[in-house]
């Protein structure tokens, strides 16, 4: 039986004044808030609010691999578990992980591997648990961004941070950071991530239809957005230590 209110999309994704439905300009990001060290029991953790997305990430490791046969004798492994809460989407999601979650877990893991020195940790595993509690488009990009922070918070040696954003096309216009509605009703969606140590892309997926000129314009939009998000990531990482420093200087900690 269908739900009482149906999930419908508007015909136009731009308002009459040329802004997007949520009032943003074409190249404007949604409000982003990040915090590290939010969970006391994990080795490293981070929390992210990106528009209506609410995501927790936690890192454990290096630790023993379960099941043992997954361990590699010459390097460590990175395991990512991307999971969505049952209530994070319009229609309740079934609690067991689905095909989409498994694929995204793998994509995120592949995206983060280039920045880690896994060869230094033979026989062990780094485990990244990412839980999306509220979803509104662009969760895989948000998850990569928050997972990189959690890894850094855990003190895992990294070549650099990783930053991700989705760009795309709606109603024939190129836009940055698609919301849930824009993602579903739009024409093209291009999530991508940058590894800052070589400034190359380590995540690239594309769904839709576009010509080559528009495609390179999209990548240009992504590049601008990357630097904005990177600043917020760095601030979040530094903030934790600035707070500790202030506690010491006030004499609250010794």
């Amino acid at each position: 039986m269908p739900l009482i209110i149906k999930d419908e999309y508007p015909e136009k994704l731009f308002r009459d004044d040329g802004k997007r439905l949520d009032g943003r300009d074409k190249d404007e990001l949604r409000p982003i808030k990040m915090e590290v060290g939010v969970l006391e029991n994990a080795d490293g953790s981070a929390y992210l609010e990106w528009g209506n997305n609410k995501i927790y990430a936690a890192v454990y490791g290096p630790r023993e691999v379960h099941p043992h046969h997954l361990a590699k004798p010459d390097r460590g492994i990175l395991r990512v578990f991307y999971r969505m809460a049952t209530f994070s989407v319009f229609e309740r999601k079934r609690p067991a992980p689905g095909r989409r979650e498994k694929e995204i877990s793998m994509v995120i893991s592949d995206c983060l591997k280039p920045v880690l020195f896994l060869e230094l940790y033979p026989g062990t595993a780094f485990e990244v648990y990412i839980n999306v509690l509220d979803a509104d488009g662009g969760t895989r990009c948000a998850c990569i961004t928050v997972a990189a922070l959690a890894l850094a918070d855990a003190g895992v040696p990294m070549r650099s941070l990783v930053t991700a954003v989705a760009v795309g096309k709606i109603d024939g216009e190129l836009i940055t950071d698609l919301s849930g509605i824009e993602d579903k009703a739009g024409e093209a969606d291009l999530p991508c991530a940058i590894t800052w140590f070589n400034e190359e892309l380590s995540l690239l997926q594309f769904d839709g239809e576009t010509d080559l000129e528009e495609f390179s314009k999209c990548l240009g939009l992504a590049k601008n957005a990357f630097s904005k998000i990177y600043e917020i990531q760095l601030d979040a990482l530094k903030k934790k230590y600035i707070e500790i420093q202030e506690e010491y200087s006030r004499g609250e900690k010794k």
Binding site: F81, A85, S88, P95
Partner: protein, 272 residues
């Protein structure tokens, strides 16, 4: 970090026990004192109702979703309310991923029974058309940080999420369900407020709201759900045994503590 151990040393256990004998707790609380509550509602935009509840450092987030389905044949005019709990691995290294285990099922079931046997969720109002269409309400509890006593935190968060929810009202027209344009609010869904209280027992000492180290060393726990003047469910777990006098004493205390929590937290303020 990583200070959670599966095994607590004998010396630590003895320390907790010797403190309890002096009616002191390692975190400075009295035997019958709960940790501080913090309750926030409406934290998840995609959910019909939601709550983020902290009890000390234990943190849980609960969301309410609905679906429309056919009723059970033996209850043709009653909606269904189901509870699920997930112990996320990010909440503690003690939690492993995978299908629900004993601990998460116990959490969901104890919260469920406390609420089900009280006159709390108004399942009769959740019927759209007898034998054809009823609401199925899902209350899903996610543990974000584990620091002992998930049951009490889960109970309050489930109640708050239900109270803060708004569910589109449907009516039966031409053999299908259509939206009336209005919403059911928390006061239609929920009547009584059952409060669940968990006690730990080490040796012959009983105390309210075990923290994580206490929970790891205690011999057993007992969770008692109470309404304003009645007991609605009890769950004893662990290998501790309780005398009849102790259970009578705890039941009395639970009704008293339940009244206080209901007053202090004033959960009806979260109704939309």
């Amino acid at each position: 970090m990583m200070n959670i151990k599966r095994v607590i040393s004998t010396i630590e256990k003895n320390y907790i026990l010797s403190n309890l004998k002096k009616e002191e707790r390692i975190d400075g609380r009295g035997l019958w004192q709960q940790r501080d509550w913090s309750v926030k509602s409406n934290v998840i935009a995609s959910a019909e109702g939601s709550a983020e509840v902290s009890l000390g450092k234990t943190q849980v987030i609960t969301g309410v979703k609905y679906d429309v389905g056919t009723p059970f044949p033996d209850l043709p005019n009653e909606g269904v309310c189901t509870f699920m709990a997930e112990l996320l691995p990010l909440a503690s290294p003690l939690f492993e991923r995978g299908p629900p285990n004993e601990q998460s099922i116990e959490l969901a079931r104890v919260v469920d029974r406390g609420i089900r046997h009280a006159d709390c969720v108004q399942t009769k109002k959740l019927c759209i058309k007898e034998k054809k269409a009823v609401y199925i309400i899902f209350v899903d509890i996610y543990v974000i940080n584990y620091s002992g006593n998930l049951i009490d935190a889960g109970g309050i968060s489930a109640l708050t999420a239900l109270i803060s929810s708004q569910i589109p009202e449907g009516k039966w027209e031409n053999e299908e369900v259509v939206w009336t344009g209005k919403y059911w609010k928390g006061d239609t869904l929920v009547n009584e407020l059952p409060i669940v209280l968990t006690y730990g027992k080490i040796g012959d000492i009983i105390f309210l709201d075990p923290s994580l180290p206490e929970e790891l060393v205690c011999d057993g726990r007992i969770s008692i759900s109470v309404t304003e003047d009645k007991i609605t469910s009890i769950q004893k777990s662990g290998f501790a045994t309780f005398s009849i006098e102790e259970i009578e004493m705890l039941s009395k205390k639970s009704i008293k503590f339940g009244k206080k929590i209901r007053k202090d937290l004033n959960l009806w303020q979260y109704k939309l």
